[in-house]
């Protein structure tokens, strides 16, 4: 186990547990993640990866334990503060979750619109982010006109357009072929190089092994391995 000084952690999970009735999804998970780290969380289906992420984005509340992310102690988080929290964490999902009746530009701009960002700022920022994810020129396209890989890039653009400290990518390559998967991983690495902490969950052995980054392995809701340069071994 790695020991971290609390104050340095951008994400701190302390003895985090979550049960659904009699079944335990997470059991006393401790996890400290440094700023600018790139952490991959691996595990079988049902190992607790999704629960972990749902707890981190406050889709659900833990049964016990502590979550502090970006200095926000979830114990003190009121329901009405949840939107504010979600604006600080960028999230990318396996199924992209794009708005089907808005074009690419509008999908990315939406993340800024809901925070009351001025139109001039939006017009300035969105093209830059689309450039970053390699979608310049596709602004007017609708999600259904894009490939899976491109859609995931839109989702990533939307997640980072507000320049969050943390980007959580939940199986972002789950629906993609190997080539597109690598494009997405490289994009995440690029975003990580710019200083964003990235948490990636994946099933993809090749990706994990090639990344040579920190790997946290979950099994039956417990952290069974946490290695600086880990490999895929569930």
């Amino acid at each position: 186990m790695r020991a971290y000084v609390r104050i340095n952690s951008v994400i701190l999970l302390d003895r985090l547990s979550k049960s659904y009735g009699p079944s335990t999804a997470l059991a006393r998970v401790n996890l400290h993640i440094h700023p600018k780290e790139f952490v991959t969380v691996v595990g079988h289906s049902g190992a607790g990866k999704s629960t972990l992420i749902r707890l981190m984005i406050r889709e659900e509340e833990p049964t016990s334990g502590k979550i502090i992310i970006g200095g926000i102690d979830y114990d003190n988080l009121k329901k009405r503060d949840v939107p504010q929290l979600r604006r600080k964490i960028g999230v990318v999902f396996q199924d992209f979750k794009l708005l089907p009746n808005r074009n690419i530009y509008e999908n990315v701009a939406f993340a800024l619109e809901i925070t009351g960002t001025r139109p001039s700022v939006i017009q300035h920022t969105v093209p830059k982010v689309l450039q970053l994810v390699g979608l310049a020129g596709k602004e007017k396209n609708f999600p259904q006109e894009l490939s899976g890989g491109e859609r995931q890039r839109v989702a990533i653009a939307r997640a980072v357009v507000r320049q969050p400290k943390i980007l959580i990518a939940d199986e972002p390559t789950g629906n993609l072929d190997p080539k597109h998967s690598w494009d997405i991983i490289e994009l995440l690495l690029k975003i990580n190089r710019y200083g964003t902490t990235v948490i990636l969950t994946t099933h993809n052995r090749d990706i994990v092994n090639a990344l040579q980054r920190r790997v946290v392995t979950l099994r039956n809701g417990r952290v069974v391995k946490d290695e600086e340069r880990g490999s895929y071994d569930v």
């Binding site: 009405r80 939107p83 979600r86 979750k97 809901i114 009351g116 139109p119």
Partner: protein
């Protein structure tokens, strides 16, 4: 302007844009919701109009009723004065005026100034018009005392005739009954149709919430506040209300301009018409507010029930 105010206005504008977009996306449901709301608001406005117009009619008819006692030509002035002073003593009587034969003739001539034949039939020398006491009362429905007094043995010999408004009183009762009925009908019908409106808008919003479940989920995940998610639904139903108000106002004003002039002989629409023309901003604001309120109530109900945030 402070930054936070600009931000709020910006958010409000974006909510309105989203609500308008949803309104058109839901076009058919919106039409249904708006149509029922039109009926509701039109009934409400009609009830107000009939209430006002019939109220005015009542006042007018009441004012125009003369309560008067006419005297035999041989009645003594003393007896008339005695009756006058006793009339003034009655609680319901506010004023009593003595009309001499000359006064009566003068008034008769004035009333018939356009009718020379009638004018020729009477003259100072041969004046058939009786002397009278004209009585102003507070409440026309309570002139029983007056009738009893006029039938007193002392006065029967000097009284030629009375005009105590029996005929008019029946008319007034009819108008009052009609007005009462229309008010009750208006209130009941308004309530029924308002409920139907609420139900339909409620369902429109409910279906919109179901149809946009994914979208709402995404909005939440990227950090939209509950207000920003609810706002468009509320604005959409406010829009229903505003459009319905505009249509009902159109109907009502058209009906007033066309219909009121035809009914003017039977019902006094003058004040109502004047009110609706002079105070039109008030009428418009009240109607729009009523429509918007119905919209807000129904969409809030739907969201409390179906939009779990």
């Amino acid at each position: 302007m402070t930054k936070s105010l600009i931000r709020r206005l910006l958010m409000l504008w974006r909510i309105m844009v989203a609500g308008t977009r949803n309104f058109f996306r839901n076009a058919w449901l919106s039409v249904a919701a708006t149509a029922v709301m039109v009926i509701t608001l039109t009934i409400m406005l009609s009830a107000v109009i009939f209430n006002m117009a019939l109220g005015d009619t009542l006042d007018q008819v009441t004012e125009s009723i003369d309560v008067a006692i006419f005297f035999e030509d041989d009645a003594s002035r003393e007896a008339i004065d005695e009756l006058q002073s006793e009339l003034i003593g009655l609680e319901n009587v506010t004023a009593v005026q003595y009309i001499s034969k000359a006064d009566a003739l003068e008034r008769y001539r004035r009333d018939n100034i356009d009718n020379p034949d009638i004018l020729e039939a009477v003259s100072e020398d041969d004046n058939p018009l009786p002397r009278s006491l004209e009585i102003q009362v507070q409440d026309l429905n309570q002139i029983d005392e007056l009738i009893i007094l006029s039938q007193d043995d002392r006065f029967i010999p000097i009284i030629e005739d009375t005009s105590l408004g029996e005929e008019r009183r029946r008319t007034i009762e009819r108008i009052a009954d009609t007005r009462q009925f229309l008010i009750s009908f208006g209130v009941v019908a308004s309530l029924i149709f308002a409920s139907v409106s609420i139900l339909i808008i409620f369902n429109t919003i409910r279906m919109a919430i179901f149809a946009r479940g994914d979208e709402i989920g995404i909005m939440r995940l990227v950090g939209a506040t509950n207000g920003f998610i609810r706002g468009p639904f509320i604005f959409e139903s406010i829009l229903d209300g505003i459009i319905a108000a505009a249509i009902s106002l159109g109907i009502i004003y058209l009906a007033l301009m066309q219909g009121a002039t035809r009914l003017v002989d039977f019902v006094s629409f003058e004040n109502t018409l004047e009110f609706f023309t002079v105070a039109w901003p008030l009428v418009v604001i009240a109607t729009v507010l009523a429509g918007a309120l119905i919209g807000i109530i129904s969409s809030m109900m739907a969201m409390v029930r179906y939009l779990k945030l």
